[in-house]
Amino acid sequence: MSIDLKMAWRNIWRHPRRAILTMAAIAFATVLLVFMLSWQFGSYDTMINAAVKVHTGHLQVQAAGYHEQQNMHLVVPDPVSVSRLLDDIPDVAAHTARATAFSLVSSHERTYGVAVRGIDPTKEAQVTTVGQVIRQGKYLSDDDAAQALVGGLLAKNLRVGVGDELVLLGQGRDGSIAATVVQVAGIFSYGQDELDRNVIYIPLPYFQEVYSMQGAVHEVVVLGTSLEAVPRIKRSVSAELKTIDKKNKLVVLDWMELMPGLIQSIQMDLISGFIMYLILIIVVAFSILNTFLMVIFERTREFGVFMALGTTPGRLTRLLLLESTTLTLLGTAMGIVAGSLVTWYFQVHGIVISGTSEMLQQYGLPERMYPQLSTLSIAVGAGLVLAITLAAALYPALKVRRLRPVEAMRAV
């Protein structure tokens, strides 16, 4: 070990209690940051996975412009070819086709405007959670025809129950009037008013018949094996689509494009989290600043001797920075180990936030949430603490440069 490093190490331990307290403050900030960032990243994964399973899936193949205009004439004309193509892509876990039309729905007493969605009952249940949110009646089967699933709030507004009839009136793809009578097979509730108040599901073949779709659909919804696989799947699907879509009319949209609000709320959450973390680290940085200012005051005379011996101010600054860097690195290393252990424990066992499980379930979220320890959360957490505490130690180290040997050696 060089003399410089020896001096730094021994100087740190001249006041063991102070050194331990300072390192503990740095370690505490690191633990908190590693855990909180892992918690945020973990909850984002859970939120995204829950959100994609409610409706959008990880990816969708649509006609260009459909997402913006929701125009029923913008269709995927040959969903069978798209399905075949998706079957051959390794990271695709499941996929289903869907069609949507905006129609009037009437009961004996009332009429509302709703989104009527044609779904493939078996495949839809593999991609989304619709099969799990039936509160009354039953889910659709592949043999069903004029059967419908109605949102809980809509059923309440229409004053209908399971077994009642509803009249659907809309416009077909070819411009004809689309009209039919369907029977309420089940009532679903996602806990999201927008869906529960405005959506009716009917079997896709029946939808295609009623709305004159000629075999076409509006979206082919894809669920990947994981969130990380999404960019890979998107690339593969985009490349493969060119073979069946010569006129380039189809596009692949991922969950970020389908739900821009979700990514914005994640960004907002990240920003507000970072502001909190910054405040926390600045508090810790002040403790470091205080420690090193104390060092300067206590050892002024010693620094005077260093200068008398011929130590240049630059070297003295380097010596002090070596001391503060060693202390900060030790604190951060302790924080990384402790933070990783704490996060890993909760990653295995999960955290139940008492009293919120019902609310979370409404949004399709599991009642137990898991932080996600990653190199990113460790690197960002520890890196932030390290950078800010080192910056705080810079001022006292530079202050030494202003000392003059004679005045410094007169200090008590």
């Binding site: 001096m7 001249r14 200068m307 011929g310 003059r404 004679v406």
Partner: protein
């Protein structure tokens, strides 16, 4: 040859509203290989003169030349370089670096000079042996007596082969026996290595060891005599 030459050096300190005139036009020359004591009562300007000769402080006016370097014209960093290579210091309060062992304290100056580690270690051990501290290499200053600490300080001051060693009241904190043995060590170094020693002191014993005695009063040299022939 003159190793130190001071011409009409003045220095004034301001302590709050009080102006203290520490040196009022002091002039002196010291020859290479000298063993010189600057004596005088407290406040006579001894330490100030030593600090200016050692490049720790600037004179207000006058000219100071040490081993051919005009100190009054030099920058802070040039003075740091001069102190490192040309000047050794021994302080009244020893001023060793508390976290370093005796050996490391002596090595530190050579580290600053860029001497390779093996040579550094060898030279530090040899000089500690010379001052009678063989076997105490690894002791920290707190584990050494005052006399032993001052010997480490002497070893540190001469290990870098300086042109002059400036010793500010080196025996003030030592008993007379320890002080005498320290002076003998310094005398031996002066004779063996030819290093110039300049002391500030009001210790009679130090004055007795010196070959030249300069008296300072109110910032002026009032007497300058050669002793022992």
């Amino acid at each position: 040859m003159d190793i130190v030459k001071c011409t009409k050096v003045t220095k004034t300190y301001r302590q709050d509203t009080v102006v203290v005139r520490a040196l009022s036009g002091a002039s002196l020359s010291i020859q290479e290989g000298g063993f010189v004591a600057i004596a005088g009562p407290s406040g006579s300007g001894k330490t100030t003169l030593l600090n200016i000769i050692g490049g720790l402080d600037y004179a207000d006016s006058g000219r100071v030349v040490v081993d051919g370097n005009v100190l009054t014209d030099m920058s802070q960093s040039a003075l740091a370089h001069l102190r490192l290579h040309k000047v050794g210091f021994v302080f009244q309060a020893y001023n060793l670096i508390p976290v370093l062992s005796a050996l490391e304290n002596v090595e530190f100056v050579m580290l600053l000079q860029g001497v390779p580690p093996a040579e550094r270690r060898e030279r530090a051990k040899a000089i500690l042996d010379d001052v009678g501290l063989g076997g105490m290499y690894d002791r920290r200053p707190a584990e050494l007596s005052g006399g032993q600490q001052q010997r480490v300080a002497v070893a540190r001051s001469i290990v870098s082969n300086p042109s002059i060693v400036l010793a500010d009241e080196p025996t003030a904190n030592l008993d007379s026996k320890t002080g005498a043995s320290l002076l003998e060590i310094m005398q031996e170094m002066n004779e063996k290595k030819g290093v110039t020693f300049i002391f500030s002191t009001h210790d009679k014993m130090v004055m007795d060891y010196a070959r030249r005695l300069i008296y300072l009063r109110d910032g002026r040299i009032v007497e300058d005599k050669i002793r022992n022939g």
